[in-house]
C-alpha cells in the first residue's frame, strides 16, 4: 500500500492567537479571495488537507464568495467525508453547493424570473448610459447569475488584490473626472437605475473595479448558512466568521461586512486583511492574510485532535443555567437540567457530587414492582464520575436547542443523551486526573444493561455508553457508537435536535421571559418521548422518579397533541403504548361486566390499574384514593388522543387498524357503561371527573360529553357493524349532559348546583391554591369548589361538541369557583381565556403554567418535571392563542393575539407536510412548500392547493 506523503501543516504557533479565539468553534464561515487564498492561482493544497481533516473532526466550514463555484472548488478541491460539512455559498448569495466524498451538490439556487433578468439588463444598460452621459466609458462585462457586472476601468485587467489601493485611487480619479463623486456615487447610480427599471430590492456592490447590480449579495449567503447551521444544532455563538474586507472601501462598506448579518450577531468575526480604514467594532482585526487564517484553522484542528471539551452556545434565550451549587435547591435544578432522548433520561447532577444530589438515570418503560408499587427502574449511572465529595461545580448550562449539558468547574465537561441514537450517551471531561476514572470497558445493570467504554488520557476523559434492557443490544449499540466516535455522535445529536426544533418551535415576539419558559417546556416534551416502538409517557417523563413513572391521562390529553402536530411518529409511539395494552383494558372492562376496553387511571407495564388506594393529605388525614376505581374519562381520553393523531396526520393505516380498535373498543365500553332511566335518558353514574374534589358523582358533564363524542366518533369509522353503529349513535343521543339552555351553563354533575356556593376566588388568599387543604376535603366535597377545569375542559378539548356560544357563560360561572389546585389547570384556562379574548387573565395563567417547574411552584419539581403542564402550555399557545385545529383535511386558524405580543409563530406538521404559521396584527401568513393559506368566511384555513 502506498501512502501519499502528508503536506506539512502550517505552523500553528507563529503568533499567539487572541483570547477570543481560545476556544473550540463548531463552524467557520469564511471569505475566499484574500482570506483563504491570496489569489485564484495560489496553491490551496495545505488548506484542502486542513479542511478535510477539520470536517472529519466534526467542524463545519462554509466559503462565502462572489465568484462562481468552479473557481473556488477548482482551487480547493476538498472532498470531506464528514461529519463536518463543507459548503460553498457562491455567486454573491445566489447559489449554495455542498462538497463531500461523492462530489459537488447544488443545494440552492436563486433563479431570477424572466422579468427580473430583463430588469437587470435594463438597469445595467441604464447605468452604463448614465456614466457615458457624464463622459465615462464603462462596459457591461458579464452577465452573472442574478447580476450584471459593469467595469468602471477596463484598462486595468485582472488587478491582484494587493493593488487594491492603487486601483481604488485610479477608479475614483476617473469618476471624479467625470463629475461623479466617487465609487459610492457610482454605486448609487446603479441603485437608482435598478429601482427605476423595476428591481424591487437591488443589491448593488463594488469591488472597486466593478459595479455589480444584482438580486442577491453575500448577506443572503450568510443568512442561509447561519440558518442551515442552526438547523444542524450549531448556534451563532459557536460560529467563527472570517474575512479580509470588513472595513469601508471608497465610501462603501467592505465586501465582507455583508457577512455580519443580524442573525449572526453572536458569532465571532475576525479579519485577516490589511483593513486600511479599520474594522467595525465587532470584528477582531488579526491581519496576516491567508497564512494567519490557516493558523486559526490549524488551532481549531489541534483542539479537536486533543479532545477539548466542546462548548455550548450560551444564548440566554436558549439555555438553562445554574450558577454554583445551592444544596437546598439542587434536586430541583437537576430535574430542570435533565437530558433525555425519549428512551433514556438523566438528571443534571454535577459529575462529582455527594448524597444531596440525585444523578438518576431512567429508562422508559422498564418497571420494577407490582401493582401500585410498580415504578420505573433506576438504571446504572453514567454521569457521575466520582462520589468523592464536593467538586465545586461553578456553572451548569443546558442548551435547549441541542440537548447538551455543559458543566464548568474543576472538572469541565459536555454530556448528551443522543437524540439521533436513543439510549446512547456520551461524555467528555477535562480536569483533575484524580477525579477522572481510568480507561476500561464494562457492562453493568440488572433490568437495564449499560455498556460503557471509558478512555482517559492525562487530564482528559471520554465515556461512550449504550443502554438497553437487552445486554447484546446494548453492547452492539456501544460498538456502533464507538465506531462513530464522539465527534460524529455529537454532530448527529446536534443535527437531530436542530431538526426537531425546526419542526416544533413556537416563537413569541413581545415577551422574552415567556419565550424562554416555552422553549424549556418544548425541549422537555420533545426529549421525553421516543420516535418508535411504544411510549408510555410518565407523568414526570424521564426527569425524576416521582409518580413512579405511572402513565395518566396527562400523556394522552396533554402531551400527545403537541407531538401529533409536530412530530407524529412520537405521538404514534404513545398510541402504540395504549394499543398494546388493549387486552388488559378489555379484561378490565370484563371484570366489571362491561364490554369493550376500560383503560386504567394509572398504568405502568402491563396495562392493569396501578393506582394507589390511599394518600395522606397535608392536613395529616389519610384519605382513600378512588380515581383508579372511578376516574373513567381516561377511557375516552385515549380515544380522543387517537383521534387527534388521525386528524393531524391523516394516517389512514392507523385509522383503519389500531386507531379503529382504540376508538371502537372505548365506544363499546361506554355503550355498556350507561344506564337508562324511565324516560329513556342515558346516564353514567358514579364517576370522578377531572375535578377530583368531588367523588363519586353522577352524570359528570365532562365524562358524559366526551363519552358521547367517543361513541359518535366510533360510529363514523369505516367498517363498523351497522347495528352497533346505530346503537352507539342512539346511546350518544340519549346521554344527558347537564346543559341549561336558559343560563348557557352545563351543570358539572347532577346536584352540583345544590352544593354550598363558595366562590373560591373571593375566599382564598390567593390562587392557585389547594382548596382541599385550605378548606378541608370534606367541606370541599360539599361545595361548588373545583380543583381544575371540568366542564371547561370540554370547551378546550371538544369545542365542536359543546353548545355554540357556551364558552363565555361557563367560563364566567366556573372559573371563579376553580381553585386551580391541579397543575394542569392554569394552562387550560390560559387557552380558554385567550379564546374569550380575556388576555390579561390568559397571560397570567399562561405564565403560571410555563413557570411551574422553573419556579418550582409545586415544591415537587425535584421529583421530576410536570410534563402535562408543559403540553398544556403548548396547547394554550396553539389551540388557545393561535386557534389552530384540524377540521377534516383543513387546518383552521382562528387566532387571538394579545396586544402585548407583536407576533406568534408556530412550526407544525399537518397531514405529513411541515408548515410555519405567523400570526401578527396584519393577519396570518404561512411558510410551507406544500400547503397554502386561504381565508374563507373570515376564518383562515390551511389546505393543500
Amino acid at each position: 500500500m502506498t501512502v501519499a506523503p502528508r503536506r506539512r501543516a502550517p505552523k500553528a504557533t507563529r503568533r499567539r492567537l487572541p483570547s477570543a479565539l481560545d476556544r473550540r468553534f463548531e463552524a467557520v464561515v469564511f471569505d475566499w479571495d484574500g482570506t483563504a487564498v491570496t489569489d485564484r492561482q495560489a496553491d490551496a493544497g495545505a488548506l484542502r488537507e486542513l479542511v478535510e481533516e477539520l470536517c472529519a473532526l466534526g467542524l463545519d466550514l462554509a466559503v462565502i464568495t462572489g465568484t462562481h463555484v468552479g473557481n473556488v472548488d477548482g482551487q480547493l478541491g476538498a472532498r470531506p467525508a464528514g461529519p463536518g460539512r463543507l459548503h460553498f455559498l457562491v455567486n454573491r448569495g445566489s447559489e449554495v453547493f455542498r462538497a463531500d466524498e461523492q462530489g459537488l451538490h447544488l443545494l440552492y439556487r436563486r433563479e431570477a424570473t424572466a422579468e427580473e433578468n430583463a430588469a437587470l439588463d435594463r438597469a445595467a444598460a441604464a447605468t452604463v448610459g448614465d456614466l457615458a452621459l457624464r463622459g465615462l466609458q464603462a462596459e457591461i462585462v458579464s452577465e452573472r447569475l442574478n447580476r450584471r457586472k459593469i467595469d468602471l476601468i477596463p484598462d486595468w485587467v485582472d488587478p491582484p488584490k494587493s493593488e487594491i489601493d492603487e486601483l481604488l485611487r485610479a477608479v475614483e480619479a476617473r469618476l471624479f473626472d467625470a463629475g461623479i463623486g466617487g465609487l459610492r456615487a457610482a454605486v448609487d447610480l446603479g441603485v437608482d437605475s435598478a429601482r427605476e427599471e423595476g428591481v424591487s430590492d437591488p443589491r448593488v456592490t463594488s469591488d472597486a473595479k466593478h459595479v455589480e447590480i444584482g438580486l442577491t449579495d453575500k448577506s443572503d449567503s450568510a443568512r442561509w448558512i447561519l440558518d442551515h447551521l442552526w438547523r444542524r444544532g450549531i448556534g451563532p455563538g459557536l460560529v467563527l466568521i472570517a474575512g479580509d474586507e470588513f472595513g469601508p472601501l471608497g465610501g462603501l462598506t467592505g465586501s465582507d461586512s455583508f457577512l455580519l448579518v443580524e442573525e449572526g450577531a453572536r458569532a465571532t468575526a475576525l479579519s485577516v486583511g490589511v483593513e486600511p480604514t479599520g474594522v467595525p467594532s465587532e470584528v477582531l482585526a488579526l491581519r496576516g492574510g491567508p497564512e494567519r487564517f490557516l493558523q486559526v484553522l490549524g488551532d481549531q484542528r489541534d483542539r479537536r485532535r486533543r479532545g477539548d471539551v466542546p462548548e455550548v452556545d450560551r444564548d440566554a434565550a436558549w439555555t438553562i443555567q445554574v450558577q454554583g451549587f445551592e444544596r437546598r435547591l439542587e434536586r430541583a435544578h437537576e430535574a430542570l437540567l435533565t437530558i433525555a432522548d425519549g428512551r433514556l433520561g438523566t438528571r443534571g447532577a454535577p459529575l462529582v457530587g455527594d448524597g444531596g444530589t440525585t444523578p438518576d438515570v431512567l429508562f422508559a418503560g422498564v418497571y420494577d414492582g407490582e401493582g401500585p408499587a410498580a415504578e420505573l427502574v433506576k438504571s446504572p449511572q453514567w454521569a457521575r464520575l466520582s462520589a468523592g465529595g464536593w467538586a465545586g461545580t461553578r456553572r451548569r448550562t443546558l442548551d435547549l436547542h441541542t440537548g447538551l449539558l455543559r458543566e464548568d468547574g474543576p472538572v469541565t465537561s459536555l454530556r448528551f443523551s443522543s437524540l439521533a441514537r436513543p439510549g446512547t450517551v456520551a461524555l467528555r471531561a477535562s480536569g483533575d486526573p484524580d477525579r477522572l476514572p481510568r480507561s476500561r470497558r464494562r457492562s453493568v445493570g440488572r433490568r437495564v444493561t449499560a455498556a460503557f467504554r471509558d478512555r482517559r488520557r492525562q487530564n482528559l476523559f471520554e465515556r461512550i455508553g449504550a443502554y438497553d434492557p437487552d445486554r447484546d443490544t446494548a453492547e452492539t449499540a456501544l460498538a456502533a457508537a464507538e465506531t462513530a466516535g464522539f465527534d460524529r455522535l455529537l454532530a448527529d445529536h446536534r443535527e437531530a435536535w436542530g431538526g426537531r426544533w425546526a419542526g416544533a418551535d413556537v416563537a413569541i415576539d413581545g415577551d422574552d421571559e415567556l419565550q424562554h419558559a416555552i422553549r424549556f417546556a418544548l425541549f422537555h416534551l420533545m426529549a421525553s418521548v421516543p420516535d418508535d416502538g411504544e411510549a408510555g409517557v410518565a407523568a414526570r417523563g424521564l426527569s425524576g422518579d416521582a409518580y413512579r413513572g405511572h402513565v395518566f391521562w396527562d400523556s394522552d390529553v396533554f402531551v400527545l397533541p403537541f407531538l401529533a402536530a409536530t412530530h407524529p411518529q412520537a405521538a404514534r409511539a404513545m398510541l402504540e403504548y395504549r394499543v398494546r395494552r388493549l387486552p388488559a383494558a378489555r379484561a378490565g372492562a370484563a371484570r366489571l361486566g362491561r364490554k369493550g376496553a376500560r383503560f386504567p387511571w394509572e398504568s405502568a407495564i402491563d396495562g392493569n390499574d396501578v393506582t394507589p388506594s390511599a394518600a395522606r393529605l397535608p392536613t395529616g388525614e389519610l384519605v382513600p384514593i378512588r380515581t383508579g376505581e372511578l376516574e373513567e374519562h381516561i377511557v375516552a381520553d385515549v380515544a380522543w388522543a387517537a383521534a387527534q393523531y388521525i386528524d393531524w396526520t391523516g394516517d389512514d393505516e392507523f385509522a383503519a387498524g389500531p386507531g379503529r380498535e382504540l376508538i371502537g373498543e372505548t365506544a363499546r365500553y361506554w355503550a355498556s357503561r350507561v344506564r337508562y332511566d324511565k324516560e329513556g335518558r342515558a346516564h353514567i353514574y358514579g364517576v370522578i371527573g377531572p375535578d377530583e374534589y368531588h367523588e363519586p358523582v353522577d352524570d359528570n358533564a365532562f365524562t358524559n360529553v366526551i363519552a358521547r363524542w367517543n361513541l359518535r366518533r366510533a360510529a363514523e369509522l369505516d367498517g363498523s357493524d351497522e347495528r352497533e353503529r346505530e346503537e352507539w349513535l342512539a346511546v350518544a343521543d340519549a346521554l344527558v349532559d347537564g346543559y341549561d339552555p336558559v343560563t348557557g351553563v352545563y351543570e358539572q354533575f347532577a346536584g352540583f348546583h345544590r352544593l354550598e356556593p363558595i366562590m373560591i376566588a373571593e375566599v382564598a388568599p390567593r390562587r392557585p391554591i389547594a382548596a382541599d387543604v385550605l378548606l378541608g376535603w370534606q367541606r370541599v366535597r360539599g361545595a361548588q369548589v373545583l380543583k381544575q377545569a371540568d366542564v371547561l375542559m370540554l370547551h378546550h378539548l371538544l369545542p365542536e361538541d359543546v353548545q355554540s356560544g357556551s364558552l363565555l357563560p361557563n367560563l364566567e360561572f366556573y372559573e371563579p369557583r376553580t381553585a386551580h389546585g391541579s397543575s394542569l389547570s392554569p394552562a387550560v384556562h390560559a387557552a380558554l381565556f385567550a379564546r374569550a379574548r380575556r388576555f390579561d387573565e390568559a397571560l397570567v395563567a399562561l405564565s403560571i403554567a410555563a413557570r411551574m417547574d422553573l419556579d418550582d411552584l409545586t415544591g415537587s419539581t425535584a421529583g421530576g418535571l410536570h410534563l402535562a403542564t408543559m403540553g398544556g402550555v403548548w396547547q394554550a399557545l396553539a389551540f388557545g392563542f393561535a386557534g389552530v385545529r384540524p377540521a377534516g383535511d383543513r387546518l383552521v386558524v382562528d387566532p387571538r393575539l394579545p396586544p402585548q405580543w407583536h407576533s406568534l409563530e408556530l412550526a407544525l406538521r399537518f397531514r405529513g407536510e411541515p408548515l410555519r404559521l405567523r400570526i401578527d396584527r396584519r393577519g396570518v401568513a404561512i411558510d410551507s412548500e406544500a400547503l397554502t393559506l386561504r381565508r374563507k368566511d373570515g376564518i383562515w384555513e390551511v389546505v393543500s392547493p
Binding site: Y547, T627, P765, L854, A862
Partner: protein, 262 residues
C-alpha cells in the same frame, strides 16, 4: 468527652431534670454531670453515679458559665418549680436559657422520666429551623432514635397544588426533608398539619408518642416572641430541647442566597 450538664436546684423539679438529663446523655452517648448553685434553704444530696459539683454565687451567672464548658453539649434546666406556674419558664431558667448559646433541655416539672426513643422536630420550612435537627443528629452520632419531623402549614403556606395526592405527597415530602432535614433523610418521618403551630406541636407530640421535642430558637422569650416554644413548654408535658439557631447555624459551603435557574 461529651457531657450533659443538669442544673439542680434542690427542689421537687430536680427528679425530672435529672431523669431527662440521663435520657439525653444516653441518647447522645454523653456523660451526665450535675451542678448545684448553693443558695440558702436549698440543697442537693449526692447523686451516686452522677458527679455533682456544688458552686456558690449568682445562680444565673454560675449556670450560664458552667454551660459554656467545652465538654458540655447540652445544659438541662427545670422549666419552673411548680406545674401550676403559668409561665413557660421560671425566671432563672429563662435567664440561663437565653444566655447560653448551646442546646438547652428544658424539663417541665410534670415530666415522667423515660428513655428518648422518638423526637419531634418542628420544621418551619426555613434553613434556620433546619439546623436544630441537624445539630441533634451531629451530637447523637451513631445512636439510633426515631425522628418525627413536623411541618405545620399556616394559611400563607397552603400549597398551590395537590395534583394526585397519592404521588404528590411522597414527592413533596421527600424533597421537603432533603431541603430542611438533610442530615436525617431516610430516617425521618414527616408529619404535616394545617393550622397554627403553637396549637399543633403539643398535640402531635402526644399523638405520635414523642419523648422529646427539639426545636431551633432565637433565644428570645419576651412576650409575643417564640409562641411555639412557649406552647411546647407549657402544653406538651415533655422535655423541650432548644437549639439556638445562631449557635447551630453553621451554613454549609455553597448555601447562600437563592440562585435562580433560568
Amino acid at each position: 468527652m461529651k457531657t450533659v450538664l443538669a442544673a439542680l436546684a434542690g427542689s421537687p423539679a430536680d427528679a425530672p431534670v435529672l431523669g431527662a438529663a440521663r435520657s439525653l446523655g444516653e441518647m447522645l452517648a454523653a456523660d451526665v454531670a450535675a451542678i448545684h448553685v448553693e443558695v440558702k434553704g436549698a440543697d442537693v444530696r449526692d447523686l451516686g453515679d452522677v458527679p455533682l459539683r456544688r458552686v456558690s454565687g449568682d445562680v444565673v451567672e454560675e449556670l450560664a458559665g458552667a454551660g459554656l464548658g467545652e465538654e458540655v453539649v447540652a445544659l438541662v434546666l427545670g422549666a419552673r418549680r411548680l406545674p401550676a406556674d403559668p409561665r413557660p419558664l421560671g425566671a432563672t431558667a429563662e435567664a440561663v436559657a437565653t444566655r447560653v448559646a448551646k442546646p438547652v433541655l428544658i424539663v417541665p416539672p410534670e415530666t415522667q422520666p423515660t428513655s428518648i426513643r422518638r423526637v419531634l422536630v418542628p420544621l418551619e420550612g426555613t434553613l434556620e429551623s433546619s439546623h436544630a435537627p441537624r445539630h441533634l443528629f451531629e451530637l447523637a452520632g451513631d445512636v439510633a432514635f426515631e425522628v418525627v419531623a413536623l411541618h405545620v402549614l399556616g394559611t400563607e403556606a397552603i400549597p398551590a397544588f395537590t395534583d394526585q395526592p397519592q404521588h404528590e405527597r411522597p414527592a413533596w415530602e421527600r424533597e421537603f426533608l432533603a431541603r430542611y432535614c438533610p442530615s436525617g433523610i431516610g430516617d425521618v418521618r414527616l408529619e404535616t398539619r394545617v393550622g397554627s403551630a403553637e396549637n399543633i406541636v403539643p398535640l402531635v407530640a402526644e399523638e405520635c408518642g414523642c419523648d422529646l421535642i427539639a426545636m431551633g430558637w432565637a433565644q428570645e422569650l419576651a412576650p409575643g416572641r417564640a409562641p411555639v416554644v412557649r406552647s411546647a413548654l407549657l402544653q406538651s408535658g415533655r422535655p423541650v430541647l432548644l437549639v439556638p439557631v445562631g449557635a447551630a447555624a453553621r451554613v454549609p459551603a455553597g448555601l447562600g442566597a437563592g440562585t435562580a435557574a433560568g
